[in-house]
Symmetry: C2
Subunit: 467 residues, 2 copies
């Protein structure tokens, strides 16, 4: 998607960068290569480089830099590792990128309270490495090895949100540098509170448009005593979705429940050389609990799946077998790309009430006919969230236009079914045009929030709402 980017005023830019350079020296980079890398995410949205990239080492430094920018009304774009997918980090009005990757310390682990406090540059894999010896883990897994700051800013989730929730449910408290350079703390380590407006949830998912997140307190969980995994194939999509609905209604606390459609499963069978599996809609399950309960959970789901014609139900508690089963799911993206050598993946992200999921996917598939697009599908099916991946030739504008048009129709369909234009990737600038259809009059309240927090519109301008 191309966008109307407007550079900052050169005189203003030179003045602000001059002040910052004097203060921070080499930790302000003006190199073209570094700037370009920081204006780009992992999507096909147009990249726009910032005017400079600052690598702070403390909250105080972030606050100082933001205060300088605020004084000059110079844009600020926070940056984690750049794995976002909707153009979040493109510097549409120029400005200063604040790269938080050097703020990567785990500050506190409170095992008794099942919480941790981290700096925003800590990645989720780094956090889980750090936690391993404590018997704790942080479950949210969006696929990419994103930073906790970035995951908080986009309200990320992933494969085990069905059991553990999203960043919305797992952030307890934040430290944030506000657009005027003040440092505030929202929320407390107490598990619950009714003490006023929920500023923490307001900042989770705000994509750098309301402030720079400099510290995050997260819920963590005890590593389960046992884990079991299962794979099951279905005659059609309806049966697979019905199985997930009944599994959820039955209160089975499934940790992951992932759908691959026939196209994606075909890709995985080839790519991962899966033997004994057919090219059909397939569910991958993971269960967490005690030794006895993970067996019971798998058996209960097997009984449900069989009601709906599920076959080839295979489950295991052995770690090596589990890893083999799930490896195919983890490699799904590469398997998809292998369907069309030389292509690149363009990932969509809608979420609907699960009762509409089978219909939404079926109509999305029908709509693919005639477009010539190849597009396997994976779904976090317990949440009604699915991703179609268009395999496109990035040099073929007609194909890109087809993908964009199909993606737009898919979003409109999802919104029409009570769903959302983005289940977990966020708005950036790529999804802004859908917010009016999704939120109606409530969109004006988002604008009101933005103006109240950031009256000069310096924080990641041009994202989420036009202020």
């Amino acid at each position: 998607m191309r966008v109307d980017a407007r550079p900052s005023d050169p005189e203003l830019r030179d003045r602000v960068l001059g002040v910052l350079k004097q203060r921070f020296g080499d930790r302000l980079s003006l190199s073209a290569a570094i700037r370009e890398r920081h204006g780009k995410d992992e999507s096909y949205h147009q990249a726009v480089a910032p005017d400079g990239v600052f690598f702070p080492e403390s909250t105080a430094e972030v606050a100082e830099a933001v205060a300088v920018c605020a004084e000059h009304r110079f844009p600020v774009v926070p940056f984690g590792v750049g794995t976002s997918l909707e153009g979040h980090v493109a510097a549409l009005r120029g400005g200063l990128c604040i790269d938080l990757s050097a703020m990567d310390q785990v500050l506190a682990v409170n095992a008794e309270d099942l919480d941790v406090t981290v700096q925003p540059g800590v990645t989720r894999k780094q956090l889980n490495e750090y936690l391993r010896d404590t018997g704790l883990f942080f479950p949210i897994d969006p696929g990419a090895n994103a930073t906790i700051g970035g995951m908080t800013a986009t309200r990320a989730s992933g494969t085990n949100a069905v059991r553990y929730g999203t960043m919305r449910e797992n952030v307890l408290s934040l430290e944030v540098v506000m657009p005027d350079g003040r440092v505030v703390r929202t929320g407390r380590r107490a598990r619950k509170s009714s003490a006023g407006y929920d500023l923490t949830r307001l900042l989770v998912g705000s994509e750098g448009t309301l402030g720079v997140i400099t510290e995050i307190t997260l819920k963590v969980y005890g590593i389960p005593e046992a884990i079991s995994s299962a794979v099951c194939q279905f005659p059609d999509l309806d049966s697979a979705v019905s199985t997930t609905i009944l599994t959820t209604q039955s209160g089975i606390p499934v940790a992951r429940m992932e759908l691959l459609d026939a196209t994606q499963m075909g890709a995985c069978v080839s790519y991962s050389k899966l033997e004994g599996y057919e090219v059909r809609p397939t569910l991958f399950f993971e269960f967490h609990g005690t030794e006895a309960s993970v067996v019971e959970q798998a058996e209960s789901v097997q009984a449900i799946a069989e009601e709906f014609g599920g076959s080839a139900f295979r489950w295991t508690t052995r770690a090596e077998d589990r890893n083999r089963l799930w490896q195919a799911r983890h490699d799904a993206y590469y398997a998809a790309l292998a369907l069309r050598p030389g292509s690149q993946g363009w990932t969509t992200d809608v979420c609907v009430p699960v009762s509409r999921l089978a219909e939404c996917i079926a109509r999305t598939r029908e709509d693919l006919e005639g477009t010539g697009l190849i597009a396997p599908l994976v779904g976090h099916v317990g949440d009604g969230n699915f991703h179609l991946v268009y395999l496109v030739d990035p040099e073929n504008q007609d194909e890109l236009d087809q993908a964009q048009a199909h993606s737009d129709r898919m979003v409109e369909r999802a919104i029409g079914m009570g769903g959302t234009c983005t289940g977990e990737h966020g708005v950036g600038y790529g999804k802004m045009k859908f917010l009016e259809a999704e939120h109606g009059a409530a969109l004006s309240l988002m604008v009101a929030v933005k103006r109240a927090f950031d009256p000069d519109n310096i924080m990641n301008p041009g994202k989420i709402v036009q202020a």
Copy 2:
């Protein structure tokens, strides 16, 4: 607590009420008895009657009434059934009370999606009656038979938040009449979304200060196949709290985990004629799951409790035995009152990280010495939330002053330990004085939100923040 209440301007009042009377006839009540009942909650906070009480029958009527009030900058105070505890419904600046009890319809039950949509006047017991035949239930249980609208507005929780979360986690979407009379809808029925600022969470817990909630979409759950209950007694508070910490760390999905301190347990032993129990700190548990898993959960907790010296661990899956065990917990408040015949209960509400809970309770107990106050304690111990109930003579000002001072110290202590001045009751006007200590600079962001949504400060003025 007494408060500086200022009546509305008589001329303005007569003009606005005249317009509303003409439009709504008998559904606007000006009767002194009805007005007085609507200015009062279940606490000891000073009641302040509104100028009139309106009983709308639809969202459109709420919108119409709010628009009239907005035009004249006349205060609006939403009202459910008046079970709040911090002076939420006191009409501190006069104005129109909107009693939503006639909007009491369950509008939709989506069994496949595990959600329901209700009007705000539906009470939680009414909702569960309605759901019974569907095999679904709504778990949040704050004790009182509050309305869903009121529970949403105060971010209520209660005994099973440890498993099912609070209203924060269980509201999917809201319809709200804004302070200018516009009707907006926040959120969607999709289980998750990253589409912009989380307005739903901003309105949950806003206590009528940002708008009038007119429709709520809630998560519901399948009624568990089996339920087991257990009671266990401990040599001291530390052992009881350590048991709950290890239970949570072990990932045992306990549905309720309630602490009674020795004073409260003594009251229950007498009142409920419990045989074979001692006057000691006691935990009540409830487990939800399959037949096998509720047995396993109870046995696992028993093993943990025994490590910490827990004795008299008794558990059962039989409904009649469960009801008998839990009846004593449900009657705890009456048992407490019976400790001092003729007294009335004054309930406090703090929440701390669970690692600080034993210390916080111990210091709170020490602080009682010398005050002469009798104050049993119950705690939602998995969340770190506890309630001390002062048994006071409402005619004895010295006693009331002692209770207020002790309560204030308890709040300051909780905040000092990383906790909150209110775990689940809300701010109203009773807890406003603590928000600065709890939130620091973030309090100014709450003021900014209030001003952005309600620039004329007509929505429940004088609550949460001074705008």
